[in-house]
């Protein structure tokens, strides 16, 4: 029973990370009807940014500031850097193609993906990095539910993810920017005619989506996942699967999908075979697309002929 509990905890924690990535996909798709193939690379960059911030501050062993502050700064840098990068990608690679064919932005995203992966390789080197969280967080502390242990990093990731999601939900539903995003998502031309600056809204959407991806990257690193330039490929694909599962275009859907995927993966890893973990996301994606393409919380698309 406690084994099940442990897997569940793993699943929820990873689910939080997947949910953040899925949110990025859903936000951008909602606003632009475009699937950003390069989204995973922003997650990767976030992980690297976080890592270099950590080492710059003296970590992992000899941080010059209190640990909490260090972690906070890592998140800020990763999210800010990710946001900037995402905005730049939108500006230079996607915006010129806004009125082009449906294929063009996808091809461009492929190019961006390849470019970012290799830029990371060039600038950061091929060495795989590890956050070595154990050196600045006592992994033996943390809480226990019954005999199931949850270490501080895992708590931090889940709480952090939930906080970010709550913040996002508030922003989308309670602020002018959020309203603008929702308007552009429904009808871009009508939004323009109502005085909404579509370009600015898109920029903010990318900034937020990429910032969330950056945060996910840091969380991944803190959870001791290795940081290398290809980590974004699978994370991106899984995040996408989570978004589709929950219903692409739906924010609660992305959150739900992320957690569901994380939990399913953890259970499969724990009870069947670890090697099949990667296949789960793919299987889920195919099943959803075949059986219920709109996902759990998505609304069916009605196209006017």
């Amino acid at each position: 029973m406690e084994y099940f509990g442990e897997q569940l905890v793993n699943g929820v924690v990873m689910g939080g990370v997947y949910a953040l990535i899925a949110l990025g996909y859903t936000l951008i798709y909602g606003v632009l009807q475009f699937l950003n193939l390069a989204h995973g690379e922003l997650y990767m960059m976030g992980a690297f940014f976080g890592f270099f911030t950590m080492t710059a501050l003296g970590g992992p062993s000899a941080s010059a500031v209190p640990v909490a502050v260090m972690i906070g700064i890592m998140f800020i840098v990763a999210m800010g850097g990710g946001a900037l990068l995402g905005v730049a990608v939108e500006r230079f690679a996607y915006r010129p193609l806004r009125n082009s064919s449906r294929l063009a932005p996808l091809i461009s995203a492929l190019g961006v993906s390849l470019f970012l992966q290799n830029a990371a390789l060039l600038l950061f080197g091929a060495r795989v990095r590890l956050y070595d969280t154990g050196q600045f967080i006592d992994l033996r502390s943390g809480i226990s539910i019954g005999r199931i242990r949850i270490d501080p990093t895992e708590m931090m990731v889940v709480i952090g993810a939930l906080l970010l999601m709550a913040g996002l939900w508030l922003m989308v539903n309670r602020t002018r920017l959020g309203r603008a995003m929702r308007a552009v998502a429904v009808d871009q031309d009508a939004a323009v005619m109502n005085g909404i600056d579509v370009d600015r809204t898109v920029v903010w959407t990318f900034a937020i989506a990429s910032g969330l991806a950056g945060a996910a990257g840091v969380m991944s690193g803190l959870l001791l996942y290795p940081v290398d330039q290809y980590m974004g490929v699978f994370a991106g694909l899984k995040g996408f699967s989570a978004a589709v599962l929950g219903g692409i275009g739906s924010i609660p859907g992305a959150m739900l999908g992320g957690f569901l995927l994380g939990i399913t993966e953890a259970l499969v890893t724990g009870y069947l075979n670890p090697t099949y973990a990667d296949f789960i996301a793919f299987l889920i994606l195919i099943l959803v697309l075949l059986i219920r393409p709109r996902g759990i919380l998505g609304r069916p698309a009605i196209a006017k002929v």
Partner: protein, 484 residues
């Protein structure tokens, strides 16, 4: 409406106005005239000359390395033609296409190596491989038939990734009816000692033999593709790529045709895979990763989606140029030539060219002075410069000792500068051009030259982005009008 006299070609007639678009595209410069002269030649000549050159290559000193490149090119051409069938006409963005190449290679290795102790005759093995890969393509096409652009792209991308993971992790598969796990695919090390092709007693055991075989296959594939292009199927694919719903209303069975495209494309990729396995005499999973897929896409997009000469040219460029990057001497030349040509084409006016280049050279020397003044440790020309351009570059480019660090900074600065320049007016761009050009060469020499394979990927990625933004139809494609 008055009809125009048959022999009147005057300005202002309907025909003249209607052909305005074509004339605007044609252009009047030197390149345009050369292009027109070339297109004026009979088609047999236009295709025959490159073919002749290709056939004569082995006789111009049989350098095995060149033949090897030729073989890679031939395989790439087959893949490009196959992918064109899927993407070029119907717009089905299959980002998992490489999985079929891999499947073909692995299937052939399974049938003709020590892995399972099977050594089937080559022809039989190839037929089996092509048929099973085509079936595999059909199976991927089935769930995909209802997916639209973006979804199809990511779903197939995922599929391609999963294929590699499957190949790598299938070296210890435990079947319930067996005592011990079975090694299906050799895991990360792949399968070695794959048989060479052997047809009717003749064994393909030299690069030359494979080279010639591929010439024949590529020619056959090109002829077949051309015929299909103009056939009812080709038109049906292109119609469904334009407007799937309207196509359905015009008797076109779009679902069936999408499946057919997937199947055919997969079959061709399977054939290429089988030959690849026998040439290499082995098959390794790392070959079939994302970079190869993106390179093939870059090839057909650069050449022009849907255009057969374009696809072939694009494949040629994407195979040969990266090879040149392996040799610092050649790559230096290549980079400088491309930079200079590109600048000249951008400037369009012969008056500006000397000014820009003089400025670039000046900035180079100024930069040297600044570096020296700061006291940056550097390397002497002899220590780093290679190739025929060494003395020139050595005296003009400052080579810091800390190549990686300073090179990285220069790289980031270069990317930022180029991106930013895309937003500026033409005038400001030209003023900044000398600096950016110098920075590009500096970055190239100091940092990028240290990592040819990374540089190659960077260039392909950048190429795709720039291509989509400036000339999405590629070299031979026609500009398309999209209704969104």
């Amino acid at each position: 409406m008055s009809t125009t006299p048959e022999d009147s070609r005057g300005i202002g007639t309907d025909e003249w106005v209607a052909q305005h678009g074509e004339r605007a595209q044609r252009g009047t410069g030197l390149y345009a005239r050369i292009g027109e002269a070339w297109m004026g030649l009979p088609s047999l000549v236009r295709w025959g000359i490159p073919l002749l050159l290709v056939v004569l290559v082995p006789f111009a000193g049989s350098n095995d390395y060149i033949l090897r490149i030729g073989i890679n090119l031939g395989l790439f051409l087959l893949l490009a033609l196959g992918l064109n069938l899927v993407v070029g006409y119907s717009g089905l963005l299959d980002l998992g296409f490489i999985a079929f190449y891999g499947f073909g290679a692995y299937a052939y290795a399974a049938l003709a190596s020590e892995q399972f102790g099977l050594h089937l005759p080559s022809l039989l093995a190839i037929v089996i491989v092509v048929v099973t890969t085509a079936a595999f393509g059909f199976t991927l096409g089935l769930p995909s038939r209802r997916l639209t652009g973006d979804y199809l792209a990511i779903a197939t991308l995922f599929f391609g990734q999963m294929f590699v993971v499957l190949m790598v992790s299938s070296d210890a598969v435990q079947f319930p009816w067996m005592d011990e796990p079975m090694d299906l695919t050799g895991g990360a090390n792949g399968i070695s000692n794959v048989d060479q092709l052997s047809v009717l007693g003749f064994t393909f055991d030299s690069n030359l033999s494979y080279y010639l075989l591929l010439i024949v296959l590529v020619v056959l594939a090109t002829v077949a593709t051309k015929r299909i292009h103009f056939s009812r199927h080709g038109l049906a694919w292109r119609s469904l790529g334009e407007d799937s719903l309207a196509a359905q209303h015009m008797t076109i069975p779009t679902v069936r045709l999408k499946l057919l495209a997937f199947t055919l494309g997969a079959g061709i990729a399977g054939l290429a895979g089988a030959i690849f396995a026998s040439v290499q005499q082995g098959v390794y999973p790392s070959t079939f990763e994302l970079p190869l897929l993106i390179t093939i896409y870059a090839a057909i997009i650069l050449g022009g989606l849907g255009s057969i000469p374009g696809v072939l040219l694009g494949a040629a460029i994407m195979t040969i140029l990266p090879e040149l990057l392996r040799f610092p001497e050649y790559s230096n030349w290549l980079f400088l030539v491309v930079l200079i040509l590109g600048t000249i084409m951008y400037l369009k006016s012969w008056k500006l060219v000397p000014a820009v280049f003089a400025g670039m050279i000046a900035i180079g020397f100024i930069a040297n002075v600044i570096f020296l003044a700061i006291g940056v440790p550097y390397l002497t020309t002899a220590e780093w410069a290679k190739g025929p351009l060494a003395p020139v570059l050595g005296s003009w480019i400052f080579m810091p000792e800390e190549r990686v660090l300073i090179g990285n900074i220069a790289f980031v600065a270069l990317v930022v500068a180029v991106a930013w320049m895309s937003l500026l007016t033409r005038r400001t761009t030209i003023i900044l051009l000398p600096f950016v050009l110098w920075l590009a060469i500096f970055t190239w020499e100091v940092r990028l030259m240290l990592e040819p394979s990374i540089t190659r990927q960077l260039l392909v990625g950048a190429l795709l982005v720039v291509l989509m933004a400036t000339r999405p139809q590629g070299i031979f494609g026609k500009p398309r009008v999209e209704v969104l």
